[in-house]
Symmetry: C2
Subunit: 183 residues, 2 copies
DNA sequence: TATAACGTTTAGTACAAACTAAACGTAGTA
DNA sequence: TACTACGTTTAGTTTGTACTAAACGTTATA
């Protein structure tokens, strides 16, 4: 591989590291995905180790979560103990998997937590102290408001997840045309 | 404040802590927002310190970023050096501000980084080595693909930011009705 | 059966980021 | 003018987490 290509790859990987870090994922994870994404052929664990400078153990764990998120796929061959990794290049598919695996759970937790607090407020009858009663009403109102917001997010995500690839193409047509930032 | 209300508040704040942490914000930030969100009256810095158990310095810095994200608002009174904080309760407004302040920037950075790598690949003429030439083509193809994806995200975010509150009501009507998870 | 080539697990380390405690600057107040 | 009551800044500490290095288990191969 010549000079420019190597530099382009490294720059790209640096970008992936940054993005990964920003979204709260390990930096190595971004680097690894970058390497696999640009590879002309399926990569083995040791090849990844060589390309990004990270130990085998770290690559092993990171590549596993990448696979869990549907960002890479493992390819196995008979009579060969090596694992070969290829990138998932359909980013909409990735987003859907990540939403399902990671965000969805957390949305549900958020919903449940607010609900739990709300249940505590509701559990008490009319408070003796009128000041407490007013506070209880405020709590109910505010918590209900947040709850319905979370519910809405939940519905939006659920809708996204329900979209099949055909409809995603529609999204792409909707937002893809207006390239307002061409270089 | 009676027992149940206090417990409800604490549970709620715990939830905010968790959510904040999940989204990569400081935990104290979530707690502080939770306290302000449930307060029946504007809170001063020292009152916040008392409600969430965090030192004044931490509250000072966290409340500032909360204000920058449009999640709370500072209220000043003449002849009073104290700062009074009230919550922003319009979550769609918050999302728009956060997108603008935080994610938008990062989307742009991501776009630029990929663009930069692409520029390096394009800078070199046809490679001497045919293998390098093939690799260069792959890089171009893959990087272009990611670039257009980022561009699309950028457009979606831009569209969201352009939505005024009137249209957001439409979103709410669209996704708000189907409450599939009532408790 | 020993050896080499895999991926995984684990114990220890390094680092970034959030927090605490305290000093600080400033503006009202006696 | 000293004193008090604020919010902010800073130096130091803590903590969680991602990483390294190395041991490990397993499977193919000589």
């Amino acid at each position: 591989m010549n000079q420019e290509l190597q530099q382009a790859q490294q720059t790209f990987i640096q970008g992936m590291i940054r993005i990964s870090h920003f979204w709260g994922f390990p930096k190595a994870m971004g680097a690894i995905y970058g390497a696999i994404y640009l590879a002309p052929a399926p990569l083995t664990l040791d090849e990844i180790v060589q390309q990004v400078s990270v130990t085998k153990g770290a690559v092993s764990t990171n590549v596993r979560t990448l696979e869990r998120l549907g960002m890479v796929h493992k390819q196995l061959q008979l009579g060969d103990r090596k694992d070969y990794y290829i990138p998932e290049t359909d980013f909409w598919k990735i987003i859907r998997t990540v939403l399902r695996e990671r965000e969805k759970q957390e949305f549900d937790v958020a919903l449940r937590t607010v609900d739990e607090s709300l249940a505590i407020v509701n559990s008490q009858g009319a408070a003796a102290d009128p000041e407490d009663a007013a506070l209880a009403r405020l709590y109910q109102e505010r918590m209900e408001k947040m709850k319905s917001f979370f519910n809405m997010l939940d519905n939006i995500v659920a809708t996204l997840l329900a979209l099949d690839e055909l409809r995603l193409n529609t999204v792409q047509r909707l937002f893809g045309k207006t390239t307002n930032k061409e270089s």
